[in-house]
Amino acid sequence: MADTNVSRRDFLKIAWGAAGALALVETGGVVLSFFSPRVVEGEFGGVIDAGAVDSFQPGSVTPFTQGRFYLVRMPDGGFLALYRKCTHLGCAVPWNPAEGKFICPCHASSFEMDGQVINPPAPRPLDRFAVSIVDGMVKVDTGAPIQRDRASADDLVYAEVAS
């Protein structure tokens, strides 16, 4: 047991070291949080009213410049909001109506209408934003892009059919 005894000197050394390390971590925390990204209210990052359900034709792609997304209405009537930022290196991907796909100008990645990758180097489909339909109006929450491994029919949001 004698070996495991910590001398007073060692105890103070360890205590000083621990206190110093704690102070460093705290200072680091202060600096990191001071410089952390600040969210700007009201602009990109908030919930955006896209418009009435009926104003979007099935099979259409409508760009929203301020919200930085495309509101896609699939031919079956399902809604999908796609973040326009290429999943490869962040370029703005334009919709090419003639070819019916998104083609990135930077490294020629291309995507289906539902965001699925047709042509790499993009590693995953275009990110999407959550879409909700309230009283016949389409709302898009641009707060957090949702990453996905593959495009799925579950991503689509449908307007309730009046019965």
Binding site: T65, G90, H107
Partner: protein
């Protein structure tokens, strides 16, 4: 009462002067010259005497001094630019336009800053090559080599953060593409990118962040490490240049190393070189304007969107490898190897000899030619013939387009090292230099392909079709 006479001179003018400059000017003998170097704030960065052979221009090419000159030019022009520039998206681009039309000599000062900044990236890189090829990193100088690698990274970071400030299309998309490389670091990548940009995309917060980094944090860190770097050189001195026959280069009887006073032998050479280079940069800046494209437009990416030129080698790698490999693993391996390089065992007889030895020179040449042929060939093969992910659809692309090609390339490298050792009967020191030359040339070739041979949609084409 003490009636002893004050020994200081009567004349007030002379008394003021001697309170500022304590030593005799000009010094009358070598002792005086050495004392002057030692007592002067700026000159004492140098030792008071230096080995005469190290003064030979073709040994150092003055690259370290040139880098320091460029840092000074950048500091002066940079501070001037700070007075006519506001880092907000609303005014940054307008300030650039005003700089060209309203500010007296605004275009010239911007050109000087722009070209010095880009030249510094090249000069720092060449300085590193010079130190490597003359064995200047050997003990006790290993850690100074590591500091130098840190300085090279800081120079690139300074250039990259400055790239954004004009807020034109070139700036906006180069930084978008460049910072997206970061987001491929596993786990922390996205967070790191968002932290640096102040949000998920390049915007107002990014401009503020980059401005702070560019004008305060990076320059202060750089100057601190530069001082340390130079202080170490002063303590460790330069390696003595030797010819391939093992004789001291620039000595009459081959062995004796003559020492001369720093003043005037080194200082006069430095001043002449600094003056010539300042003149050359000034001439260049008068004739060639720094580019300024249309104002940044986040809605429209130009085609092709290229990263800053010194990242084009990485961007080229990214076209051939899975992003985690192209942007993170391969560069990290390269930098790690570079930092550990001076801790390898080193053949003492090769110190101070350009390219180690006669065989080392041949091997370096062979390595350059090999890279010049092999890299374009591999790029063409990967572009038009081999499609690993397509051939192995059942494997995830991290393996088919990452681990597999990387393993193949590493095997080729090991084969090259082994082959040159057998074929040339090269020492480990010479063979390692061969691999280093092979890799550096490959990086340069990839950079050139990225800059000059990639056009619309990043498709391969000939340089006159790109521009």
């Amino acid at each position: 009462m003490n009636n002893e006479l004050d020994p200081r001179p009567e004349d007030l003018k002379q008394r003021v002067w001697e309170s500022i400059q304590r030593d005799e000017l000009p010094p009358s003998d070598d002792r005086g010259r050495m004392r002057l170097v030692m007592n002067n704030l700026v000159l004492h960065l140098h030792p008071s005497k230096v080995a005469k052979p190290t003064l030979k221009f073709t040994y150092t090419w003055g690259l370290g001094g040139l880098a320091l000159l460029l840092v000074a030019l950048l500091a002066i022009t940079g501070v001037m630019l700070m007075f006519v520039y506001t880092p907000t998206p609303a005014s940054a681009y307008q300030d650039m336009l005003n700089l060209q039309t309203d500010v007296w000599f605004g275009q010239l000062i911007r050109n000087l800053h722009h070209w010095s900044g880009n030249l510094l990236v090249i000069v720092a890189f060449l300085h590193m090559l010079r130190v490597f090829f003359t064995g200047g990193f050997r003990a006790p100088r290993e850690f100074n080599w590591v500091l130098g690698i840190g300085l090279l990274l800081l120079v690139v970071a300074a250039n990259f953060t400055g790239y954004l400030l004009p807020w034109d299309q070139l700036a906006y998309w180069a930084v978008t593409v460049g910072s997206s490389l970061l987001s491929y670091i596993p786990l922390i990548g996205e967070g790191l990118r968002n932290f640096l940009l102040g949000g998920p995309e390049v915007g107002a917060a990014t401009l503020t962040n980059f401005y702070g980094l560019h004008v305060a944090i990076i320059p202060l860190t750089l100057m601190g490490i530069v001082s340390f770097h130079i202080w170490r050189v002063r303590k460790d001195t330069l390696t003595i240049p030797h010819t391939v026959d093992g004789k001291v280069d620039g000595s009459d009887d081959g062995d004796r190393i003559e020492k001369v006073t720093t003043l005037p032998h080194l200082v006069s050479r430095e001043l002449v070189f600094a003056l010539i280079m300042t003149g050359a940069i000034l001439l260049w800046a008068v004739w060639v304007n720094a580019p300024l494209e249309a104002a940044a437009n986040p809605d429209h990416s130009p085609n092709p969107a290229k990263a800053a030129w010194y990242f084009m080698g990485l961007q080229e790698l990214l076209l051939h490898f899975h992003p985690v490999f192209g942007a993170i693993i391969i560069p990290a391996l390269g930098l790690g190897a570079l930092a550990l390089l001076p801790y390898q065992r080193f053949d003492l007889s090769a110190e101070g000899v350009w390219f180690r030895s006669r065989k080392g020179r041949w091997l370096a040449l062979v390595s350059v030619v090999t890279a010049l042929i092999a890299v374009p060939l591999l790029v063409l093969l990967d572009e038009y013939v081999i499609d690993l992910p397509g051939m192995l659809p059942s494997l995830p692309t991290v393996i088919s387009n990452g681990w597999l090609p990387l393993a193949a390339l590493l095997l080729l490298l090991i084969g090259y090292y082994d082959g040159t050792r057998r074929l040339f009967k090269a020492t480990a020191c010479e063979a390692r230099q061969g691999v280093f030359v092979l890799l550096v040339t490959s990086f340069v070739v990839l950079t050139v392909i990225g800059i000059a041979f990639r056009g619309e949609g990043m498709a391969l084409m000939l340089p006159w079709e790109v521009l």
